[in-house]
């Protein structure tokens, strides 16, 4: 059973319950979700197993405390995304709602996967002594600071590595920023000039900053 279906079901239960404060009839639920009774029963079985709902005699459904909490969370996320899409795209509310409904479940899986491609969160967070390994650029054809030589005028393309990203950002090493490679020792410690300040970087950090030559 897909996670999104369970979340949909919880959200529906939550909306119905918060309107009427009563146990939910199966018919109401299938109308809200536009699914067949069999499908809904399957989902409910699973939710009951996980302790999010309880079934009353006669097939009516009530939310447990955890179920209510989860449902509320999905509901809130849904509203937020809906509002964001409206703000962002000027989409009409109905269309945004549909879009948001699809997104609210998928953000955590698909999007993240795609995302990590670009910001290479998958890069190892740190450099370990003793296990030196050459790291390939996240994408083919990208060159890191270490591939250039002293005096080169460069522009930052992307920065990866979560551990030290924050300090680099604050010093102005963000995508699009012009920097120049001021010094590069034979042991590959480097100094870059960014915003009229010199910043010294260890080789493993320089390796995580992808740049291109400025024209």
């Amino acid at each position: 059973m897909r996670l999104s279906q369970r979340e949909d079901c919880l959200e529906a239960l939550y909306t119905i319950v918060s309107e009427s404060e009563k146990a939910v009839r199966l018919a109401d639920l299938s109308r809200e979700l536009q699914m067949s009774d069999e499908e809904i029963q399957a989902i409910l079985d699973e939710l009951e197993q996980q302790g999010h709902i309880a079934r009353l005699a006669g097939g009516d459904v009530v939310l447990t405390d955890t179920g209510r909490e989860l449902g509320e969370g999905v509901f809130r996320k849904h509203r937020t995304l809906e509002c964001f899409l409206t703000e962002m795209l000027g989409m009409d509310a109905d269309k945004a709602s549909q879009e948001a409904c699809r997104l609210e479940h998928d953000v955590s899986d698909e999007t993240i996967d795609r995302l990590s491609l670009y910001i290479c969160d998958s890069c190892p967070g740190a450099y370990r002594w003793g296990r030196k390994r050459e790291r390939k650029p996240a994408e083919e054809g990208m060159q890191s600071l270490l591939d250039f030589s002293e005096g080169d005028e460069l522009s930052v393309v992307s920065v990866c590595g979560p551990g030290w990203r924050r300090r680099l950002i604050d010093l102005g090493i963000v995508p699009g920023q012009s920097i120049s490679l001021k010094r590069k020792l034979r042991n590959r410690s480097i100094v870059v000039r960014v915003k009229h300040c010199d910043v010294a970087l260890s080789p493993e950090i320089a390796r995580s900053i992808f740049v291109e030559k400025r024209t």
Binding site: G73, R76, K77, R79, T80, L81, C83, F84, E87, M88, L103, E104, V107, S108, T111, I112, R114, L115, Y118, I119, A126, Y127, R128, W129, G130, S158, V159, G163, W164, R165, R166, R167, L168, I169, D170, L171, G172, V174, P175, G176, Q177, R183, L185, R186, N187, R188, S189, V191, V194, K195, H196, C197, D198, V199, A200, L201, S202, P203, E204, I205
Partner: protein
């Protein structure tokens, strides 16, 4: 009224704070000098103005300890106004922090410091234009020359106001902010924090992270990068508008020399060696003069008086303690502090860090760690506190071990006062060599076995400056006070007790007890081992107590060269002093402190015994 001094590292906040309040705060030319809040107050037109000096930070959105500290302080509304201190020569980068601070909406003024350096660099900043861009008052100052500092408080008092600027963010970020405002009623600043993943309010955080995922997918950048890039861009726009001219004056760039492998690394070694040699030579000369003066003017006349034994013991103990403390420790320690202060103020420390980066990686840390290690030459205590600037626990553990092994100025006193003075300068240098080798070996070993991650160095190079004599002396004197007012009284009291113990025969009993170990293992007389134990209180006390217990400052009369050498070597290596142990405990916890202590005790005894075995 409470005013906060906020700014990037090394922009002159602490110097301004000192001049505003008259309180001594250490000022240095490298990042991370101020690690805690320092408060002080000044009186202006019969009103008390409290001034808080914050640690230098690059950002208010980060998660580092200092950034968190400043953010919380501001969030809790503890500051009525802020003084944003900026380095005029690095305006664009400094504006980034100001833009963040502006979003807090607290009243503020901007201080453009270091205009003397800016003028030298051929720059001019249009203050009126900058005021217009920011919507707050801007004052140009030169703290090192005291220029315009007196205008700061009146200006804060009369015209601090919230900045009117708004950073134009990316369309999607703005949409997200509006969304959070609409759905949850969050303010602009909180929304921006939540979007960047700073957890304050759970519902807000949850909603924000759902949006964040959307934005990041669209932009192929993290939201932190987007927001930061927007701010940096806006900072550049402002800087471009207000910087009037940038004469590309061709000046000789000293960094060409300092930051190349050749001659940079030879220069680094030369700098460190010449510091040691200078202390050796000048310190020894001063020491001799002062000790001599004490002997002729105080001790000899005292012995000539013929006082009753009890009074004579006490008086003599006091006199010898004074002689040992002021005559021996003072010259060395003070000269050391002066030299280190000069080194710090030139901005050379960051160059040293850059050059040492590769070597420091081999001992499990990065170049930045060389700064606490060099500082450790002065005193281990601030050096251990400097460990906070290291990122991971692994680096901190390794750093804790290595720093406590660095011979601080008090240990230099021992090496110089005993070995250089009575054995020779070359043997004295071999002690440094032995310690250096042991530190390296320890580092290599620890980097193999200490668990955890290692992060690389990201370090802003401090500008090179000519240190000012007045500031250097002031700083050295401040550090010296600790020695005069804490160490000296301890020495005096200790000395009196020892004198009394001696008089009543307690010392003899203890020495008899310890004699087999002392003479058998280390090959030094048992009273020397007693003196060694005093080194736990303050390192140089081992030496001073040796003089007191031996009854003479002329040590070559009572011990052989080898004995003196072993005594010095063991006392340099074994056990960090009480203050170091205390600060280690605070920074690193009990387990690491115990490990460091046992390790150094063991090392000291083993090396001492080895030397005795080989040469004895």
């Amino acid at each position: 009224m409470k005013v906060a001094l906020i700014g990037n590292p090394s922009v002159g906040k602490s110097l301004i704070f000192n001049q505003l309040t008259g309180i001594g705060v250490e000022v240095s030319n490298y990042p991370g000098t101020t690690v805690e809040l320092k408060g002080g107050s000044t009186c202006y037109q019969r009103e008390m103005i409290d001034i808080v000096d914050f640690p230098g930070i690059y950002s208010l959105d980060g998660t580092s300890e200092e950034e968190e500290l400043v953010r919380t302080f501001l969030l809790e509304g503890k500051a009525d106004a802020a003084i944003v201190v900026m380095d005029a020569t690095r305006l664009e980068r400094n504006l980034y922090l100001l833009l963040q601070l502006a979003e807090f909406g607290i009243p503020m003024i901007a201080v453009l410091n270091m205009i003397d350096e800016m003028e030298k660099a051929g720059l001019e900043i249009d203050t009126t234009a900058l005021e217009y861009q920011l919507g707050i008052e801007v004052l140009q100052t030169a703290a090192s020359k005291g220029r315009n500092i007196e205008k700061i408080i009146p200006l804060v008092r009369s015209s601090a106001r919230p900045a009117t600027l708004t950073v134009p963010y990316d369309r999607s970020v703005e949409a997200a902010v509006r969304t959070l405002e609409k759905t949850l009623g969050a303010g602009r600043t909180e929304s921006l924090w939540a979007l960047q993943g700073i957890k304050k309010d759970f519902a807000l955080f949850e909603a924000a992270s759902a949006i964040t995922e959307q934005i990041e997918a669209r932009h192929r950048m993290t939201i932190q990068q987007i927001i930061a890039a927007n701010r940096h861009n806006y900072a550049r726009t402002i800087a471009d508008r207000v910087i009037k001219k940038r004469e590309a004056r061709k000046r000789f760039d000293l960094d060409q020399l300092l930051m190349g492998t050749i001659p940079g690394i030879p220069i680094l070694i030369l700098v460190l060696l010449s510091i040691l040699l200078f202390v050796f030579i000048v310190g020894a000369f001063l020491e001799e003069t002062i000790v001599e003066a004490f002997q002729i003017l105080l001790i000899d006349p005292l012995l000539g008086l013929g006082l009753p034994p009890l009074v004579e013991t006490i008086a003599l103990s006091l006199a010898i303690a004074l002689q040992a403390g002021l005559g021996i420790a003072f010259p060395f320690v003070f000269i050391f502090y002066i030299l280190l202060s000069i080194l710090e103020d030139t901005g050379y420390m960051t160059r040293a860090a850059f050059l040492a980066d590769n070597a420091m990686h081999r001992v499990g840390m990065h170049g930045g760690a060389i700064i606490p290690l060099i500082l450790g030459l002065g005193c281990n205590v601030p050096a251990v506190m400097g460990l906070r600037n290291l990122t991971s626990r692994r680096e901190k553990i390794i750093g804790a071990f290595l720093i406590t092994m660095v011979p601080c100025s008090a240990r230099t006193v021992i090496i110089l006062g005993i070995v250089a003075a009575f054995v020779g300068i070359l043997p004295a240098l071999t002690i440094y060599l032995i310690v250096f080798l042991l530190i390296t070996a320890t580092g290599l070993l620890l980097s193999r076995f200490t668990p955890g991650e290692q992060f690389g160095m990201i370090l802003e190079m401090a500008p090179l400056r000519l240190p000012q004599a007045e500031l250097v002396i002031k700083k050295s004197w401040m550090r010296m006070q600790e020695f005069l007012f804490i160490a000296m009284p301890m020495l005096l009291v200790g000395s009196i007790f020892l004198g009394l113990f001696e008089l009543f025969g307690i010392t003899a009993m203890f020495e008899e007890l310890i004699a087999p170990f002392s003479e058998g293992v280390l090959g030094i007389p048992s009273y020397a081992t007693t003196a060694l134990l005093f080194g736990i209180l303050r390192k140089e006390m081992a030496f001073e107590m040796l003089a007191i217990l031996g009854g003479t400052a002329n040590l070559s009369a009572i011990m052989t060269s080898l004995q003196l050498y072993i005594f010095a070597l063991v006392s340099v290596l074994f056990v960090p002093c009480v203050s170091t142990i205390a600060v280690l405990f605070k920074e690193m916890g009990g387990r690491i402190t115990a490990a460091v202590t046992f390790y150094t005790v063991g090392l000291g005894i083993i090396i001492g015994a080895l030397v005795n075995l080989i040469f004895g």
